[in-house]
């Protein structure tokens, strides 16, 4: 079969003469050989290593017991893990943090995208400012916000500078001086109320509610990732055809109608992307908390990422650490795998 000259073969390509001989090697084997290094390393470093972590989580192997065998009962590490009040608090913190962080980053990201998308002077500059935190590391963010949320000096001092507290004082109110990262309170106190409905709740070893210190971490994380949400939403806004926007303008739709009937529904796929990507970031968050507050007062800011790191590399309990990391992996997989499978189906 001959290809017409017009098909669009680049000129620099035409000048090369190839042997028309097609061999099994070049046709079938060579492409597979090219991709095999990445397949082999990913298979080993992702899948085999996860499998090894599963085995470690089922064993009593540790730094002091290098000849460890399968533990009896087999799920001993898991029962230890879930019986640990600290890990119970970590799971509570992950849920609360994820809700606060997703509301903060995706909500703020949407507001930023809608504002920057308007016809306004200097919008490129604003976009740059809002996305900037995404480029720097969680560690730097954590170090900076740790000082900002220092109750003695940071943002509370800024409230004084801005005159907020003197205004409150003039109105006869107490100055606004939250303890931020140092506040061990869990609010509201739900345990007692719950124990009236479920007597079992009285035996809980941790407080149900929002750990106040976690709010500061969620603010810092939202600061860092709202720009990411904004960029995704801006990509989404660019897909809304102009004729649809125009039609709404001709119909004189109000701002809110326009948003709720057109913009929001058309942004839905991009909202989903933000929730999946940022949701999985939230479930495995580690660096930011590590640099900002560590486990926090009464484990108020502890998360599974920190717990696994400390129990594995400080306490050297490999089995429990491995079990904790697999709980993290499972949470991430529940969020990410359906999304990946859907993308794969669309591609096929």
């Amino acid at each position: 079969m001959s290809i017409p000259e017009s098909v669009g073969i680049p000129d620099h390509y035409k000048s090369f003469k190839f042997s028309a001989r097609r061999s099994f090697f070049w046709d079938k084997l060579a492409p597979v050989l090219i991709i095999s290094p990445v397949i082999v390393t990913t298979l080993t470093f992702v899948y085999v290593f996860i499998l090894l972590t599963v085995l470690i989580s089922l064993s009593d192997w540790s730094a002091v017991n290098l000849a460890g065998r399968f533990s009896t009962p087999l799920l001993k590490n898991y029962s230890q893990l879930f019986a640990n009040p600290r890990f119970q608090m970590d799971l509570r913190n992950t849920v609360i943090f994820t809700v606060m962080f997703l509301a903060g980053s995706v909500g703020l990201g949407l507001v930023l995208a809608l504002l920057v998308d308007r016809q306004i002077r200097g919008k490129g500059l604003f976009r740059t400012i809002f996305l900037f935190p995404y480029a720097i590391s969680f560690i730097v963010t954590g170090v900076a916000w740790r000082w900002i949320f220092n109750p003695e000096t940071g943002i509370n001092q800024l409230f004084n500078v801005l005159g907020i507290n003197s205004a409150l004082g003039a109105a006869g109110l107490d100055p606004f001086k939250p303890g931020w990262l140092t506040d061990p309170t869990v609010w509201p106190p739900l345990n007692e109320a719950l124990s009236k409905i479920f007597p079992a709740a009285a035996r809980l070893q941790f407080d149900i509610g929002v750990p106040v210190a976690l709010i500061a971490v969620a603010i810092a994380a939202s600061w860092q990732l709202a720009g990411f949400a904004m960029a995704t939403f801006l990509a989404g806004l660019a897909t809304i055809p102009t004729h649809i926007r125009e039609a709404a303008q001709i119909d004189n739709a109000s701002g809110w109608t326009h948003f709720s009937k057109i913009t929001w529904p058309m942004l839905a796929p991009f909202t989903l992307i933000n929730l999946v990507i940022l949701g999985h970031v939230s479930l495995k968050i580690f660096d930011l908390v590590y640099a900002m507050s560590g486990p926090g007062p009464g484990f108020a800011t502890d998360v599974p990422g920190i717990f696994v790191f400390e129990i594995t590399f400080r306490a050297l309990k490999y089995g429990v650490g491995a079990a904790g990391s697999l709980v993290m992996l499972l949470m991430v997989a529940v969020v990410v795998v359906p999304y990946l499978i859907r993308n794969m189906r669309e591609d096929a």
Binding site: G8, S19, Y47, L131, I139, W145, V308, G321, D347
Partner: protein, 286 residues
């Protein structure tokens, strides 16, 4: 668009002046929130040790000088260099491997290529805690533990998971007919890559390189678990050590944070356009 044309079909309704002013005011207010930590880090980094005190966090430094930067640089320079070597080397190797693998996976007809790609891409989402114990022991076994070469190897390997997504998305925009035509003429997989694909790949390389460099520079978990010796540690680990050390003045800590943030911040400010593209292609399917 000319005035006459815009009368017929306004591309976007112009906001009223009052709406414009309100939007602008809101944007400026939000910018203040986003720039507040940057202001705090830079101004306090520029203060002298005697100047940083509990009540003066938000004031400007009294006089111009290097403030905490000299002290921070003295402490962080070795790890800054380590991070530069690791992120630079790993980015170059990672992108070369990612490019040719992504090309074959997305443009060559390989059986199950979709499933293979998805399985590789899944690796970018996993919490690295779930592979870190076997990884540390493996690195110890083969002598890569505690070395920059070990850190580079690990970043190159895990970097492929996102490279396959970025390069794959990029190469999907190249028409397959181009490849088919070359194949009919007898060009093999390497010749097609070298003569057709590579010359078209520059934007893909820039996007992937920015992504890799930023990710590797900002990594903390691999650095802290694979490199126990301070002389080989990356900057993120050195910065947490500096920050957790209460005998260090916090003008030095803030200056250190600025130094640690600088390379990726510069990459972002210079290549922002590509940065956004990488970010979007890293999560949004094209």
């Amino acid at each position: 668009m000319s005035a006459a044309a815009s009368n017929i079909a306004p591309a976007r309704k112009r906001d009223l002046p009052i709406q414009q002013v309100l939007t602008l005011a809101l944007l400026i207010l939000l910018s203040a929130f986003f720039l507040m930590p940057v202001y705090m880090m830079v101004t306090n980094g520029l203060k002298t040790a005697s100047e940083v005190s509990v009540d003066s966090m938000w004031t400007l430094p009294a006089h111009l000088g290097t403030g905490g930067f000299a002290g921070a640089w003295e402490k962080l320079a070795p790890s800054f260099r380590n991070s530069l070597v690791v992120a630079g080397t790993a980015t170059v190797i990672s992108c070369m491997i990612g490019s040719i693998t992504g090309y074959v996976l997305s443009l060559w007809r390989i059986r199950w290529s979709n499933i293979i790609s998805t399985l590789i891409i899944f690796g970018m989402f996993i919490p690295y805690q779930s592979i870190i114990i076997p990884l540390v022991f493996f690195a110890q076994k083969i002598g890569l533990y505690g070395t920059l070469a070990g850190l580079i190897t690990v970043h190159v390997i895990y970097g492929q998971c996102i490279n396959i997504l970025i390069f794959g998305n990029y190469y999907k925009s190249i028409p397959r007919s181009l490849i088919e035509a070359a194949r009919v003429d007898g060009a093999n997989v390497l010749v097609v890559y070298w003569k057709i694909i590579l010359p078209l790949s520059a934007p893909g390389f820039v996007v992937a390189a920015i992504f890799q460099f930023t990710n590797i520079w900002n990594d903390f978990l691999f650095g802290v678990t694979l490199v126990p010796n301070p002389s080989s540690q990356p900057i993120t680990v050195a910065l947490t050590n500096l920050s957790g050390n209460y005998s260090v003045d916090w003008n030095v800590v803030m200056a250190g944070a600025v130094i640690a943030a600088l390379p990726t911040a510069v990459v972002y400010l210079v290549m922002g356009r590509f940065f956004v593209r990488g970010l979007v292609s890293g999560s949004v399917k094209s």
